[in-house]
Symmetry: C2
Subunit: 307 residues, 2 copies
């Protein structure tokens, strides 16, 4: 494929950045990739496993001459990173990010992007429960969606189109969306589900009358799926909830309302209400499988099933 | 392996019964297996795919001369099935079940078991989101737990030991537990997680401002795991909640309390509370993987990850 950016800089070298790097190498669409992470330990690991062509000891060094800079750090520190690198960005370069929240990133990063540099926020809707420089793999974005969320109405269209082609080269589908809608959609499809999973695992861990060892042994009846989600990185998720407060609280309110209605149906023994509710929710599952966004194999294929 | 029961009858021919049948064939521990399901359609499918050595047109016919009868129907109809077959059970036989709730099954089935027949309730903690006669596979119970819940203090010990050996032959680990504790443990590890998943999927389906097609496309960010659980059989789950009302409501109460505390932390911007909570819940995940109750592959291995 043709070269899309001569030099790409990744700031933060965790799950998302490392997956991007391996996917770029697979695609062959960029020249050189430089990287930077906060800790000497992560930088040493990156050098060891060949993550990035050059691992730099400062963000300023990493972004030097870069045509694309991608912020791959937790949402809460993006503003500080942008402030640091802002004065050192190459004129005409594009700054993007992969943050799970978009309005807060636009507000905190935007002011630090100098005239003549394009700021094009984005969010790849793909991830696993693992984190750090060794967690990435080239296939993470295959057939997944990346939402590009232009920071303002006069965002340079050519810069957006170029970033879109870049992500398509990494295996993804791309769509544009405005920041507010993005944050609401993600509150539904990601942020609230994560909070609920964390809560359920917390409840199980808290009970006196059921021991942790019972919870662990008997988890295959449903609970273990929640623990996967609730094993995600605490810093990333703290920042998500602090920065997507409004939409998360709105969806949580809806969730609590519906939960109370089901709770009342259980208390009153209203089997028809329960049955109707449990029937309705099956259609969405079918849609997800038809759209290729999940495997149809029972239990995600992790059981011994051959079908 | 030595023959454990000469004749086994399966009443209900869905996911659990069909998995038991294929696991019995794999183990070679029983003589003949007869089966019965309510609908002519399911019986025809069973005959077609060779599910059971004999498929009978009535439950009474199926249990004739059986040494072990296993009720594999939804919890809410177990009492009626027991009432029907009660007078036709072979003296000295064992009646067991696989119901997800135990106190209600003991109360509804127990009275119909005649003198001289052993009633030994049990619950295999294994399943998938699929149901029906074609959903089963021999490996479903491998390395999973089966809880045997004796119906009374004077349950015949030999009958319990025999049933335990039977389940071990199907690949499972077996433990004994009393009915009340069973229902509480399952409310935590299975019933409440299912209700919460159903609720979250229902909320997503309900929103006007986020379309179903958006929810489907962008589900890989966490939501899709919930849809798998919420695709389970509505009748089975209605019955679970109607019959394990007390324990489910207790755990739901705890869940709501903790959710409100996290919600308050989000509202107040208390990042330390969130971070601490999200850190604590990781230990249980590690325990589950060490205990062999889930795969350590990122994202259950369904991504392209080679690691
Ligand atoms: N994980 C997902 O499922 C997922 C999906 C989509 C989007 N995202 C978003 O992607 C971003 C990164 O997530 P991730 O999963 O890749 O995280 P991760 O694996 O935890 O990696 C985070 C990286 O950021 C670095 N970092 C943290 N604080 C920093 C600072 N103050 N200055 C410089 N570097 C810093 C870390 O460096 P050290 O290693 O030295 O600490 C690490 O290299 C987040 O904004 C997240 O919202 C995540
Ligand atoms: N699925 C799980 O994950 C799981 C795990 C552990 C335990 N369990 C328990 O196992 C039991 C069966 O669940 P399953 O998943 O195997 O269900 P399933 O796949 O839906 O099968 C249920 C079977 O019961 C039959 N049935 C329903 N009502 C009946 C009646 N009134 N008389 C006779 N047969 C009737 C059905 O016959 P038709 O096909 O003719 O309708 C079908 O063959 C339930 O008690 C459930 O709580 C389930």
């Amino acid at each position: 494929m043709a070269q899309q950016y001569e030099k790409v800089a990744l700031i933060g070298l965790g799950l998302i950045a490392s997956s991007m790097f391996w996917a770029m190498k697979r695609a062959g669409t960029v020249g050189e990739v430089s990287g930077y992470a906060r800790s000497a330990e992560t930088r040493a690991t990156a050098r060891e496993i060949g993550l990035c062509d050059t691992v730099c000891d400062s963000a300023i060094e990493a972004v030097k001459d870069a045509d694309l800079v991608v912020l791959c750090v937790p949402v809460g520190v993006m503003g500080a990173v942008a402030e640091e690198i802002g004065p050192h960005l190459k004129p005409g370069a594009t700054v993007s990010d992969v943050g799970s929240v978009k309005k807060a990133v636009i507000d905190s990063v935007g002011p630090h992007i100098p005239e003549g540099v394009h700021f094009v926020p984005a969010h790849p809707l793909a991830g696993t429960e693992q984190s750090g420089p060794t967690a990435g793999f080239a296939e993470l974005f295959d057939n997944r969606w990346v939402l590009i969320v232009p920071s303002s109405d006069d965002t340079d269209d050519a810069a957006v189109i170029r970033l879109q082609a870049f992500w398509e080269g990494l295996g993804a589908f791309v769509e544009r969306m405005d920041a507010e809608h993005h944050d609401l959609v993600l509150a539904v499809t990601s942020h609230t589900p994560h909070l609920i999973a964390y809560t359920m695992v917390g409840v199980a861990d808290d009970l006196r009358r059921v021991t942790d060892s019972e919870v662990i042994k008997y988890s295959a009846a449903g609970f273990r799926d929640f623990t996967r989600i609730a094993a995600s990185d605490p810093t990333m998720w703290r920042d998500v909830f602090l920065t997507n407060k409004e939409a998360t609280l709105e969806i949580l309110g809806r969730f609590t309302e519906e939960l109370f209605a089901l709770q009342r149906a259980i208390r009153k023994g209203d089997g028809d209400h329960l049955h109707a509710y449990f029937t309705r929710t099956r259609a969405i599952r079918r849609g997800i499988i038809e759209a290729g966004q999940d495997t149809a194999a029972p239990d995600f294929g992790r059981t011994g099933s051959k079908r």
